[in-house]
Symmetry: C2
Subunit: 529 residues, 2 copies
């Protein structure tokens, strides 16, 4: 069953094998007409939910267990302001300093919680609607290294690396948002790091940005910068293009005191918050998948109480981010099947609550963008998408169990996530797609025409080509013969070339000269002008 | 959020970072006790079905459309023997030479069809129970090239390559069967090729084998060889260790005349058959996912009628194998999201009929075992597993859109499929796994002990370590520091080394000397003794 067609000559432009005669010119003409956004085969915010790792009974059990944990174990270490807010709403402060949450309180606050969060881009075309099981993919993390692909090495990550990641994200269709994926280790002052992180991200992309702040005392300056970039506080509040990724808990079942203070200031400042619970299954969370989900759900429910007791309906993302641990070594692992299940199980809980939710998917344990990276990134990314996770964080570029970020992998991730999104879109079943009429025509012919015996070049096939099929940008589909004739294209080398091409162009996201001068006059910006 | 633990020293044997103090010795002790097969975290035949790409209504629509296609379009080109068999059962032969199938006939034959096929290994420990949504992964295909990983090249595949693939498959836990993945191109005589294919496969593995035969006239010799290997015809019939992968249709909607004759001889000879319909979506099948599924279901239902009209209840696998086509070029593509959906949608139809089913998953368009290969292989493999596909064919080692087979990729596929199987196993939710008692103990302590504040080293975590977690053999989880200290292990280089180690050992599957001498006396065996 050789499937090659050796007689077809390769296209001189693409090096691709030509199609069977007849339909090719028509296909080229069809491709020349650029598709409008709503005709593209994949888009941000396609709805998942066809994959349900747990039964409805199991989901209800997890919910019940989380409520029990909140009622009987509760959380320690809330800041005084948080204690006041939550006790005011009905939480109970124990002699052991732990806040416990009666079930009715949790249910009341769930009723108040914002269900239809839209995360804003600096440009409205990048707004993200987090309702239902709509799926979005983006970066995230706090990697401390950059992957040096050409040198087969790791080095410290810098502010320029972060800015470059923002610029690359800006032009990749399937990376829908930029959460700060790495730390600018070349900036030693923490306030300057926070400010320059905002600058480097926002000057690189008009997509929605997420970041964290290293100290509550930084918030006035950081908000001032955000308001300047937006063109005024009211403008920012109307369309907050940045959300606060906030590790408000230290699992198991403790509030992160200072992060909670930061969160309160972000809420007052008009920023959506990501309520991020990042337990490690086997270390800071139970080793079992179900147990880790119970604990992270309980912690995020405490966050829902906190936010809505303070500011009812404030936009918040239910950020259950349990991670895996390699129990042989005690080292973190994020590329496993267990990780993919943790993430997909969390997505199912978000859907149960009807709350916008996020979790980590798509990160790899591999050090380089190799086959392992490919299988690990796809496994959790596609399962997250199929389970309907609203925000898939860490979805591209993340290596070495979150310790390294890789620009080339980010670029390849665009292809990988495009494929995952095609799977999320799923199978449309109707009279047109079932194609019985076409089948009859192709097999039996009509009164006017004999049976062609194949579907090539039919109108239905041509219209399907661009509207329903996803084509990889760098993924290679050549036959071995074409591949050899085209100097054996190398995936990683092509990603390097694409990175260089992206970074050589002038970014559409950069600030206009007046704003840039204002920002540089007010703050110490480390990126060259 | 640096997650490295720089103070921990690497294990001198493994180079892995040591765990936090305390639990490590206990973990090592726990690992020393080898797990029995039923305690392993993953096994052949775990049940999927948590992913359902189509609604129940859509599944019913596909079924109805397939019945309509069989009733109104029917299939051409049945051999005279097949016409006699199917007309005898109630099919209608039209003036146009097409056999059409009344709905009641299809439903009657579905009722007769064997629902609980067990495919036999030469060793019973490799038997495959295809009931329900039990999932098995294996090789398949008819690649004409071998991937030369070290030379970054392709070359013709040989009988020795096939035998080596069998030997490698034999020792990989997560490759559950060997269907002939490549053609022995160094054997020019087709009968000798068929015979040597049987020999090379069966002498390399005691797992279940699938193969095809290039001409019906080869069947007497091939059956003779199979009976000799089994130790007698009756022994083979009792435990047929080989099934016939039979492309009994030429889509769209035509029987493959000679293959049907072969199929009849296989059925009479006691071999299970794989009813394989391999349409290309956009060429020999409708371009839409739903349409391609309708057609392949219709074709396989015709096969069910054929088999059961001839031999009621004969073991047959519902082999809907629709493939994708890159509509820009007319070239085959098997690594896409569309392909993964085709395969998962087919699995859902198999479950609807309650029939053992198979489809292609895990093949890649990439030429080398690179990141693209990883993401493509995982995408369709994990979706096939989650959808509960009984037999995932082409699941490992397959490159260049089925044109090339790669031993190193087969070895890496064992890790990849192990991860997919972990996902198939899913999330267990019960009082033990939800771990509320542990959470209370870890957070609150007990009367006798203070709260440890973490889950490391608890009994629950230790028992979880080996029974619930899958560890990759070659996938690397080191920190960048460990990785650098260990000479930057390279995934593909390690796969090459493993291949060489496997092929350097004496195979447990090889024939005993007496049988081997008999086979070599009776047939021209091209493999060196």
């Amino acid at each position: 069953m050789s499937l090659d067609t050796p007689n077809a000559s390769p296209d001189p432009q693409t090096g691709r094998r030509a199609a069977r005669s007849g339909g090719r010119a028509a296909r080229h003409a069809a491709r020349a007409a650029k598709l409008s956004d709503d005709m593209r085969p994949i888009r941000p915010g396609m709805s998942g939910g066809t994959y349900k790792p747990m039964s409805e009974t199991d989901v209800a059990k997890i919910h019940e267990a989380a409520l029990t944990a909140l009622e009987t174990i509760g959380l320690a270490d809330a800041p005084p302001s948080g204690v006041e807010i939550m006790v005011g709403a009905g939480a109970l402060l124990g002699d052991d300093g732990r806040l416990r949450f009666p079930r009715a309180l949790v249910e009341d606050m769930l009723a108040l919680a914002c269900k239809d969060v839209t995360l804003r881009g600096r440009h409205p075309r990048h707004d993200l609607d987090l309702s239902g099981t709509r799926v979005h993919y983006g970066t995230a993390g706090a990697a401390v290294n950059m992957v040096d692909v050409m040198g087969n090495d790791y080095r410290d990550s810098t502010l320029q690396d972060l800015h470059d990641a923002a610029r690359i994200t800006d032009v990749l269709d399937n990376i829908h948002f930029l959460q700060r994926p790495m730390v600018a280790r070349d900036i030693t002052d923490n306030l300057e790091m926070d400010l320059n992180t905002i600058y480097a991200c926002a000057a690189g992309t008009t997509k929605h940005i997420g970041t964290s702040f290293s100290d509550p005392s930084h918030m006035p300056d950081c908000l001032e910068m955000l308001y300047m970039i937006a063109g005024g506080e009211d403008v920012f509040r109307a369309r907050p293009f940045m959300s606060n990724s906030n590790c408000f808990v230290v699992p198991p079942m403790k509030f992160a005191t200072e992060s909670c203070e930061t969160m309160e200031m972000c809420i007052r400042g008009g920023m959506p918050v990501l309520l991020l619970s990042a337990g490690m299954s086997g270390a800071t969370a139970p080793s079992t998948t179900a147990g880790a989900i119970v604990q992270s759900v309980a912690e995020c429910l405490a966050g829902v109480v906190y936010v809505n007791a303070m500011a009812p309906g404030h936009p918040a993302i239910f950020g259950t981010w349990p991670f895996g641990l390699d129990l042989r070594t005690g080292a973190m692992t994020v590329g496993s099947g267990e990780q993919a299940l943790l993430t997909a199980g969390c997505a199912q809980m978000h859907a149960f609550y009807g709350l916008p939710g996020g979790a980590a998917g798509g990160a790899s344990d591999s050090k380089m963008p190799d086959m392992q990276a490919g299988w690990e990134q796809m496994c959790s990314n596609v399962m997250a998408g199929l389970s309907g996770l609203n925000m898939v964080y860490e979805a591209a570029g993340m290596h070495a169990s979150l310790l390294g970020f890789c620009h080339e992998s980010l670029i390849l991730g665009d292809d990988l996530i495009g494929q995952a999104l095609r799977c999320v879109r799923g199978i449309e079943v109707d009279d047109e797609t079932m194609a019985l009429d076409q089948m009859a025509q192709v097999c039996l012919g009509t009164a006017d025409a004999p049976a062609p015996g194949h579907y090539l070049g039919t109108d239905r096939t041509l219209s399907h080509m661009e509207r329903d099929c996803v084509y990889p940008a760098l993924g290679n589909r050549m036959s071995p013969k074409e591949w050899a004739e085209n100097d054996r294209p190398n995936l990683v080398q092509n990603a390097i070339a694409r990175k260089e091409a992206i970074l050589a162009t002038r970014s559409e996201a950069r600030f206009d000269a007046g704003l840039d001068a204002q920002l540089r006059a007010r703050f110490n910006i480390h990126l060259p002008a």
